[in-house]
Amino acid sequence: MEQDLLQDSIRRIQNGEPQAFQVIVEKYKYSLFVWVTRFLGTADPVDAEDIVQEIFLSAYTHIQSYDPAKAGICTWLFGIAKNLCLNELRKQRPEPRADFDEVSSPNDPALTLQQREIHHKLDQALNNLSPEHRSVFILYDLLGFSHREISVIEKICIGTVKSRLSRARKELRKNLNQYWRQYEEKA
């Protein structure tokens, strides 16, 4: 049903009805915001907004070349997102990673100071992963994409997706264990 609506919207956009693009924006804006924010580690939502807007505008410009037989609209959009964000990272080099603790869990009363510290350390560990590992981790563990979908977005085989995911998790776990030891020692 939802797929039909999306396919219909794409057909309408391709036939010169720009208003139909709103369906695509509404459907994917949230997951694209999560991906861009976590992938770039942007502390300022305005920065993420500029990039997500650019992703949508680029998708709209190239929608005539989109072929549903080749990829789902979601994987196609994330493919555009990945290219734009990698360009953004190249511009930012050396990667100035923001403390996005302030953005992600601002003043969450449920978190203790130690928990917040560990979350912050995990953010830093995520930012220190290579873009390839970070991307796969965000897509799978945070956004719930399948291995197959990630393999299409990243243009890699499923085996490589799994190995990157495993490496990313291992690295984050290593950091978590390290901070957890420090936390227990303090306690």
Binding site: Q19, Q22, K29, L57, D123, L142
Partner: protein
């Protein structure tokens, strides 16, 4: 689940959420419509330009032909002059 695992799971859950800026979709759609208008005006001006170029080419052709006829007429007139 021990506390460490819980903190890790909480972290993943919190990082899978963001606060979307208000009016984001409207801003995107405004840009999309603007982009479409620019594209339409560009294609309109390019149609006018190609029509104008074609008219200039036709007029130049007519002018050159008239000059050729005049030249031939002068030559013929000159030859015919006693």
């Amino acid at each position: 689940m021990n506390e460490k695992e819980r903190i890790y799971t909480d972290w993943k859950t919190s990082r899978s959420k963001v606060d979307l800026p208000d009016g984001f979709s409207e801003r995107v759609m405004t840009k999309v419509v603007k982009q479409e208008q620019i594209k339409a005006s560009k294609s309109g001006s390019s149609t006018f330009r190609s029509l104008f170029e074609m008219a200039v080419r036709i007029l130049m052709g007519i002018g050159l032909s008239a000059l050729g006829i005049l030249r031939v007429a002068c030559l013929v007139g000159g030859l015919m002059r006693p």
